[in-house]
Amino acid sequence: MSEGEANGAGAPILVVEDLRVAYDTLAGPAMAVDGVSFSLKAGERLGLIGESGSGKTTMAMALLRLIRAPGRIVKGRVLLDGRDILTMSVGELREARLRDIALVPQGAMSSLNPVMLLEEQIADGILAHAPRTPRAELARRIEALLRGVGLDPSVARKYPHQLSGGMKQRAVMAIATSMRPRVIVADEPTSALDVVVQRQVMQTLGRLQGGLGAAVVLIGHDMGLIAQFADVVGVMYAGKLVELAPVEEIIAAPRHPYTRLLIDSLPSIAAKKRLIGIPGLPPRLVDLPPGCSFAARCPYAFARCRTETPSLQSTGGNRSAACHLYPEAQALPPLGAASGEARP
């Protein structure tokens, strides 16, 4: 599924190394992102999937250094073309946002300033990076951007409350791509939209990304959506990246037990089957138990899982998983008879 250009060898455009973000709570720090590393080449689409509390939104915010108190970035590097976003000066950071790395935020409904015309909000971003853009040029660019996301240019003279949810999400994408960024971070861009609109918006995002040759990090909770869009899928659980693999492979043969149970729990329209959820509850991020965070819910767990935290390791090919079953196992062994369900 990966684009031809993505395969063209080249240095990764985005490298995340051992990123850790903590939230200070009254009960102590909660590690919302706990040692995540990955890298992305131009044109590549990474989907980060996780449930609420898995740290996926924190991850998106950290990539743009938008973490606010009580959250703080504890350590790690976010290298954008070799420059660390987390240590650059405030002025450089402002320059880099939108021009190099852009955000398509979660709540498009609430991400637009309710008292500003759409054209002013688009112009704001452009003028912040190119203050001397002539008016005529600005108007031309705004029109082109709106057309690019499938909106009528007359929308420029409207206020956010005059737009539908799908239109707002498109407007936000127009802003995000206004400076032709090289990395787009899309944080659940369709979470409040109906399925048809969701599909339209995601396809538009895909087209924009293709046109710019930008890398995309798509954050989401819906495996189906991620699978439709991404080339590579990263699965997050309790702040950690527990599996990273190309999309077809991860769906056909997940390596991490959590990924497998998650995929198994998805309803499909291929055949009726008994729906089986994952037993237990996601852990609270404050005072995590020692060992693997998923051990308590894992049907494969053994003694080592409860004492030693597994780190992300290669499991062959371009796949990796954070699980003590590897490297001994070649693939995830079938579940015992207890689950009552055979692998497809």
Partner: protein
């Protein structure tokens, strides 16, 4: 859009009329509802308390009876009352018999409106800016030290503040005049000297109202701003790479001001009540002092006139604020 706007303006105008209606009706009904014959009560009071001025009690009583027309049915009295109002026929003053109440009001009104609107404007803008800065993480630490002072200022009634201000600045330091709106020994002429004199007399009452208000606006704005700064559009504005002041004014303050203006409309009544008392303390020649003198002299029609005028003035001010609101909020929804 325009239709929604029209509905909005009409509704606000209806509110204005309703307030005026309530004010007039209250003025009309209360003397008639309370036990006793209002004319007899008033005259008895006038005779008892009117030692300081020589009043032609008979003449007054005659005016009173005519004005009240108690022999007519209540409905007719009420209609007459409204008719008189439309002719600005508010009766005569007893203390300065037979000066018309409307003349007295016309003399006092500019002083009050000038003082009140200037003080509110200063307090509201300064307080809002201060409050927004207090909520702004980039605004430095030192500024937050003034929060307790603001809390104290916001909680003290401002006519008490006025007393303290007079004592400190006019009695102890003697830098500004303690009372009045102008130097009564001056010859009234429109020149620089007169203007300076008026300004000099206005400084302390202005300060009293501003200080009494600024804390309220600052604290209100702070909490509004804190919640606005938590909105997604602020995060997105940051993600766009905008400069901090652009975010502060266009995205932060601009939105926080919406509820500030709503609060302004709700608080104007209290501000006006406080300003009336500040005028009394400073013996400032506005409606407040007129009211106070009238109360002391049992000058009932003047009292009624001032009350009516206060309510109508406020209602009109509110109507203006309401008309400005749609300019601030394109959604015109409240």
């Amino acid at each position: 859009m325009s239709r929604e706007l029209a509905t909005y303006v009409l509704r606000r105008f209806a509110q204005l009329l309703l307030i005026v209606f309530i004010a007039v009706s209250v003025n009309f009904l209360i003397p008639r509802l309370l036990p006793g014959d209002p004319v007899e009560t008033a005259i008895a009071r006038l005779q008892a308390g009117g030692g300081q001025q020589s009043v032609d009690v008979q003449a007054v009583a005659k005016v009173y009876r005519e004005k009240y027309g108690l022999d007519q049915p209540l409905g007719a009295q009420y209609l007459n009352y409204w008719r008189d109002l439309f002719h600005l026929e508010l009766g005569v003053s007893f203390a300065n018999f037979p000066e018309k109440v409307s003349t007295k009001l016309a003399n006092a009104l500019p002083w009050s409106v000038g003082l009140l609107s200037l003080a509110t404007l200063i307090a509201f803008s300064a307080g809002s800016l201060l409050g927004a800065l207090l909520a702004w993480p980039g605004a430095g630490h030192a500024i937050r030290a003034i929060v307790p002072a603001l809390m104290v200022l916001a909680s003290i009634p401002f006519y008490l503040l006025a007393i303290i201000i007079i004592y400190v600045f006019a009695v102890v330091l003697k830098v500004l005049p303690p009372a009045g709106g102008f130097d009564t020994t001056r010859i009234a002429r429109l020149d620089l000297g007169t203007v300076l004199d008026v300004v000099k007399h206005a400084v302390l009452p202005l300060c009293a109202i501003v200080l009494g208000n600024v804390g309220f606006w600052a604290l209100g704005m702070r909490s509004q701003m804190v919640s606005v700064l938590g909105e997604d559009y602020i995060t997105f504005a940051e993600a766009k790479g905008l400069g901090p002041w652009r975010i502060f004014f266009r995205y932060g303050m601009r939105n926080a001001m919406l509820s500030q203006v709503t609060a302004l409309a709700l608080a104007m009544g209290a501000v006006l009540s406080g300003a009336v008392l500040v005028e009394v303390v400073f013996n400032y020649p506005g409606l407040g002092t007129l009211l106070y003198v009238a109360i002391r002299g049992q000058d009932y029609f003047v009292i009624q006139g001032v009350v009516l005028l206060l309510i109508v003035t406020l209602a009109i001010l509110l109507f203006i604020i309401d008309l400005l609101y749609p300019l601030l909020d394109p959604r015109i929804r409240r």
